[in-house]
């Protein structure tokens, strides 16, 4: 399959590399950013089909970045997935309230990440 473009916004280089390599291997076109501001730029230039966003980012955080992405006119059907720490129920609640389409728990499970991304991309067929 595929070639769909996924934007990964993640400030930790190792985690970014892990997610990038796994999605790469699954055949996606991965673009990345290490801050919210950079994420906004990349999203505007490369029009991703899905965004994976860490909630805790330097500068503007994940939630704020999401708001700006939507405000700046990113297609509303592009799923934006929050990446949250496990056992932080309040993070889940915050992600939900902030309007994320889904969340992925850390530590990211290689198998379920690929599965979840696939489901979200399939689900947005309107």
């Amino acid at each position: 399959m595929t070639g769909e473009r996924i934007l990964v916004v993640e400030d930790n280089p190792l985690n970014l590399k892990l997610v990038r390599d796994v999605l790469d291997a699954a055949g996606y076109d991965v673009v990345s950013a290490t801050s919210g501001e950079e994420g906004l730029r990349v999203a505007a230039e490369r029009t991703p089909d899905l965004v994976l966003m860490d909630l805790q980012l330097p500068g503007i955080d994940g939630t704020e970045t999401l708001h700006r992405l939507r405000r700046d006119g990113m297609a509303p059907d592009v799923p934006v997935v929050a990446v949250t720490a496990f056992a932080m129920a309040e993070d889940h609640a915050r992600a939900e309230r902030a309007g994320f389409d889904a969340y992925v728990e850390k530590p990211i499970s290689v198998r379920s990440l690929v599965h979840q991304v696939r489901q979200l991309l399939d689900g947005r067929v309107s």
């Binding site: 930790n12 985690n15 796994v22 939900e96």
Partner: protein, 748 residues
């Protein structure tokens, strides 16, 4: 001298004298009876009784008038007079007391302690109180001493306006009356003393009570001060607190509104001449001595005394406030007149100080405790923040360790040889173990901070047990351990926090597998007993010796038995017990060395099965969503609404709940594990018993048309605001009285 007749001159042998003696005795008996009756009368005051004594003495002695003097230091002053004592004489006598000298009859009587008379005062060359004679006109004067405890406390006199000496009978009568007057005085003294003691005790009691009613140290001091002023009948006062860290005194409370006095006092205390000593006050207090200054004007210069004198103080008494030898402060009361305070006032103040200091110590301890607990709260918050940030910092690299090793184990980028596979598996397991430890530490700190909140849902006990078993089955199989799950037929669903319930069962099951030798057995069982759900995990392990049975519930303590194949975190049992506590149940252990152990826990059975069919109960609303945050949000939206809520995390649980709990309405998500929302909806509409139940779909999936076609009453797309949700429920036929308070806004 012929005029001066000594009392008791004999008239015996005179028969008329016998008759008169008899009459006199009778008269005296009657008078005594009257006096005793008056003494016994409740409420009779001393003056009233003494007046009776004087009047009877005058009448029976056939005198013109009579009077009673009381001792006052070196002199005797008029206390009471009979009805015929002229007013001018009365007034004059009050200002001119009688000295103990031979110039007056009374002076001689108190000196000689005998009853005496002067036949004619004008003929007595020694008599020197002509001033009194002129005002009263007396000529023959008789006086008897009132003796009490060997002291002449007063004198009773009678007189005639003509020169006519009293006979022996009268001398005896007056002596007897004087003795009775003395008794009256003693009685009255005792009564007055008793009454004032009772008053004082009552005041002390009330002050003591008032003092212990507050835990504010300054309020305690001010109540002590108010009580002291009342007890001492003082005009004012202050209390200074002693700080034994630097030996300083600080005025903490003053009577009245005297900010300027306070300022001047502080200035005097801070005088470099008397650094931190507080003048005479501090010295006395530190030495634990009572300080009495009867007249401040007579004092040698002291900076504090000067200030007080300038403020109108004339006399004062200072009491050290001590507790077990330690000085706490100094209580000072004052009067604006010189003269000082009586000794019994000192005693009362000392008593007050003694009984109040405990309250003061308590108040101070309480204040310290408050400060300490505020500090502890801050420390505990810091700990929580530290744990939260540490767990984040530790997780980030762990994510990489676990993630990359998983990529390798999944052969995402090629084959591994056997040894590489083994090492990568070790890395992965170690990473998982560390993460588990981290999560348990975080959970435990949440429990301890009281921040772990349970989210009860209704779930099937068997499912939870099977889930836990499935996670340890592989390991059990590797070691040839037989693993079974048995649920009694009457165990259906339970209302509890499903995630935490599973966590406990999993912990017990994995412990059992870890510590059971190869070829053993682990049985997980559930039954209902006396309204409680009992879950037990029994193994055929080495057992736990009695001395270890409590220890293993402590953090980082593991059973020291045999060779542990796998290391646990050492926190699992501690955490499990705390979680079961939160459930309102208990976790216990039964064990026999070399036979095995049974860990069990009980939790109260929820009663979600009584459906919302009237009886004044609110209808039951089933919330179906796999996302806890969404459920929390909906729950928050519906707080205060006339509904009871029950949750289901997947389609299967939703269908079970529909069958058993008969909810009056359903809020349904579409994307669900196991059975999705569409399937739940079609089952529900196909079943005649649930076909009528209103359904509101709340989902990220925007398929409104399909939803309504398949039988949903309302269709909302996430995110949903409270007003949208409540509006949809009302339109679907679920009565929602208007909710109060500001609407919780959902995301735009």
């Amino acid at each position: 001298m012929a005029d001066q007749t000594t009392a008791r001159s004999s008239t015996a042998g005179d028969s008329g004298g016998v008759d008169r003696a008899l009459a006199g005795t009778r008269d005296l008996a009657v008078a005594t009876e009257e006096i005793l009756a008056a003494l016994g009368r409740a409420g009779a005051n001393s003056g009233e009784i003494l007046d009776i004594v004087i009047e009877r003495a005058v009448r029976l002695c056939r005198a013109h008038a009579g009077q009673l003097h009381l001792n006052e230091g070196d002199v005797y002053r008029l206390s009471r007079g009979s009805s015929l004592v002229p007013d001018a004489f009365r007034r004059y006598s009050l200002d001119h007391p009688i000295a103990r000298d031979r110039r007056s009859l009374m002076g001689r009587v108190v000196a000689d302690r005998t009853t005496q008379q002067i036949g004619d005062v004008l003929a007595d060359p020694e008599y020197g109180r002509q001033d009194l004679q002129r005002l009263s006109g007396f000529r023959t004067l008789m006086c008897a001493p009132m003796i009490l405890h060997d002291e002449v406390v007063g004198a009773l006199s009678v007189w005639r306006l003509e020169v006519e000496p009293f006979d022996d009978q009268h001398v005896e009568l007056l002596s007897a009356f004087a003795a009775q007057a003395a008794i009256v005085l003693r009685q009255v003294d005792l009564t007055t003393e008793l009454e004032s003691k009772v008053d004082q005790l009552e005041t002390l009691r009330m002050v003591g009570q008032a003092v212990t009613e507050t835990l504010d140290p300054d309020e305690v001091l001010s109540r002590i001060l108010r009580g002291a002023v009342e007890i001492a009948d003082a005009d004012g006062g202050f209390v200074a607190a002693y700080d034994d860290a630097d030996g300083s005194m600080e005025v903490r409370v003053l009577t009245g509104d005297q900010d300027d006095l306070l300022a001047r006092l502080e200035a005097a205390i801070d005088d470099p001449e008397t650094p931190n000593v507080f003048g005479r006050f501090g010295t006395a207090a530190i030495q634990g001595e009572l300080l009495a200054i009867p007249d401040l004007a007579q004092e040698t210069t002291d900076p504090v005394v000067d200030v007080l004198l300038a403020d109108g103080w004339r006399s004062l008494v200072g009491i050290p406030l001590q507790r077990e030898g330690a000085l706490l402060g100094h209580l000072v009361v004052e009067r604006s007149t010189p003269g000082g305070f009586a000794a019994d006032t000192h005693d009362a103040l000392l008593t007050l100080a003694a009984q109040s200091t405990a309250a003061l110590v308590n108040a101070r301890l309480f204040r310290e405790l408050q400060t300490k607990s505020a500090e502890l709260e801050v420390a505990s918050r810091h700990k929580s923040e530290f744990l939260a940030s540490m767990s984040h910092e530790l997780r980030t690299p762990l994510n990489a360790v676990i993630g990359f090793s998983e990529v390798l184990l999944d052969r995402l980028f090629g084959e591994l040889n056997e040894r590489q596979d083994e090492y990568v598996r070790d890395i992965h397991n170690s990473g998982r173990h560390l993460l588990e430890l981290l999560n348990e530490i975080l959970d435990l700190s949440k429990v301890e901070a009281g921040q772990m909140t349970l989210e009860p849902t209704v779930f099937r006990v068997t499912d939870a047990l099977e889930y836990a078993a499935s996670l340890v089955r592989e390991r059990a199989a590797r070691h040839g351990i037989r693993l079974s799950v048995e649920t009694a037929p009457d165990v259906g669903t339970v209302s509890a926090d499903e995630l935490r319930f599973k966590q406990v069962v999993l912990n017990l099951a994995s412990n059992a597998v870890k510590f059971t030798p190869d070829g053993g057995a682990v049985d997980i069982r559930a039954e209902v007993l006396a309204g409680e759900l009992l879950v037990t995990v029994t193994d055929t392990g080495v057992g736990i010796p009695p001395e270890d049975r409590e220890r293993i519930f402590e953090s980082f303590q593991q059973g020291g038995r045999g060779v542990a194949r796998e290391e646990g975190t050492g926190l699992g049992l501690t955490l499990s017990r705390r979680i079961v506590d939160l459930f309102g149940g208990r976790l216990w252990l039964e064990s026999q060395v070399d036979v095995g152990s049974t860990f069990g826990f009980s939790i109260p059975m929820g009663t979600p099965s009584d459906a919302g069919d009237g009886k004044g109960q609110h209808p039951l609303l089933l919330l179906v969503d796999d996302d806890r945050a969404s459920l929390d949000l909906v729950t928050a939206y519906l707080e205060g609404a006339p509904v009871r809520l029950v949750r289901a995390h997947d389609g299967e649980a939703a269908l079970r709940c529909l069958a058993t709990d008969r909810p009056a309405g359903v809020v349904l998500d579409i994307r669900l594990p196991k059975i999705d929302g569409w399937e739940v909806l079609s089952h529900l509409r196909a079943d005649p018993s649930t076909a009528h139940v209103p359904v509101v779909i709340v989902s990220v999936v925007d398929e409104r048309t399909r939803g309504l076609e398949e039988g949903a009453n309302e269709y909302l797309t996430k995110p949903v605001s409270r007003d949208e949700l409540v509006g949809a429920l009302v339109r679907a036929g679920l009565p929602m009285t208007p909710l109060t308070g500001a609407g919780v806004e959902g995301a735009p």
